[in-house]
């Protein structure tokens, strides 16, 4: 087994699962039934994407299954971006996170379609169709909130300020990515930044929102397993059943 490829696929899978799990926390709590359903549907798309990726990773490692990878690893072994695990906060923060993350996934999957890895190409092709909806839906909400009432506007600004420092690591290749980029087995995320900025600034301009000044502090660590407290609490809930009743299924 090539450890770098395994780690890279886990990183992609963890991003989708952890973001999907966070969004699923809105199920039954959305501000209206339509938004509740939208959030649950997007969560389902992401958990589905993570399943495809975990199954692929599991095929590379003896004894691993999609379930052992999702439910039996500890926080230090997860390689998701910090922005995925951060708490939902209010609707504005959830929407802003989804928008930043979906725009990133959209750039990433677009480039993943030309990697020299047939399975990743297939997963990217499939996922990209779904992510296109996520970008548009969350982008519409960014505009609605930013260009809404003074209250919604101030919440959007707070959300952007809180999340911005977590966007830097999206474009910092981890060691396992650096090892794979020359052989076109991983996307060079550093090259996605301009494209991503272009995607988000168009929407933020329409929303009347501004980004923090360039060069502001960025926090990284998630991609190499250095997480915030938020991930441990999330895993405690998400993994509870498999930890308490090992191997249970229904």
């Amino acid at each position: 087994m090539n450890q770098d490829r395994f780690d890279y696929i886990l990183h992609l899978a963890d991003n989708a699962l952890i973001t999907g799990h966070r969004l699923s926390e809105w199920t039954g709590h959305g501000p209206s039934v339509e938004q509740d359903i939208a959030m649950s549907n997007i969560a389902l798309d992401l958990v589905g994407q993570s399943r495809n990726l975990y199954q692929y990773a599991a095929s590379m490692k003896e004894g691993a299954t999609e379930d052992t990878l999702a439910y039996l690893r500890d926080a230090r072994e997860f390689k998701n971006l910090l922005i995925a695990e951060t708490g939902n906060g209010d609707w504005a923060k959830t929407i802003t996170r989804l928008f930043f993350f979906s725009a990133y996934q959209s750039c990433l999957y677009e480039h993943m379609r030309s990697l020299r890895d047939e399975m990743l190409r297939a997963i990217a092709e499939k996922s990209l169709k779904e992510v296109t909806y996520h970008v548009r839906w969350s982008g519409d909400w960014v505009i609605r909130l930013g260009d809404g009432t003074p209250e919604s506007r101030s919440r959007m600004e707070k959300a952007i300020d809180a999340l911005w420092p977590l966007t830097g690591e999206m474009f910092e290749p981890a060691p396992y990515e650096k090892a794979l980029i020359p052989s076109q087995l991983a996307v060079d995320v550093a090259a996605l930044k301009q494209e991503w900025m272009h995607k988000i600034t168009g929407v933020l301009d329409n929303a009347g929102c501004r980004l923090p000044a360039p060069g502001s502090w960025m926090q990284s660590g998630g991609k190499t397993g250095i997480h915030t407290e938020a991930l441990g609490l999330l895993l405690a809930e998400m993994q509870f059943l498999q930890r308490a009743y090992p191997g249970c299924n229904w």
Binding site: I37, A38, L44, L46, V47, G48, I123, E125, K126, S127
Partner: protein, 165 residues
Amino acid sequence: MNIVPTDNMIERIRGLLEQVPDPEIPVLSVMDLGIVRDISIKDNRVEISITPTYSGCPAMDAIALQIRLELVSHGFTEVTIRSALTPAWTTDWMSDAGKEKLLQYGIAPPAGPVKNRVALSELSPPCPHCGATGTTLLSEFGSTACKALFRCTACGEPFDYFKCH
């Protein structure tokens, strides 16, 4: 049963799969939906390749199980079901009969081929209940990921629209 790879045998299996409903939209068979990508026979074993509509479609496991049950109950005991992600499923693969069944069931079928797709907010699919064309989008996401929610301004009824995907 000796399963020989002839056109007749494949046709027979295809006929059986036409009896396997989608668990979410039971008027559609898996053949109508266009998710069966390949049927083949090798060494007395039937191989079926299916593709998910959406990555997170929760019905896929149930569909694979139902296909297996249908085939086993008709004597095809050795069955392999594979999931194929590529090429990615599109509503263009839905049969015309399937689209008609959707309409009768109260779900507006996808409007035209994917290459001519317009934004949902600009779309006004005819109401499957009264046929009026004045309909408005309520939500890009309906009761499942593959559908959006519309409302008819003539009869006032909300309805699902199967998204062009």
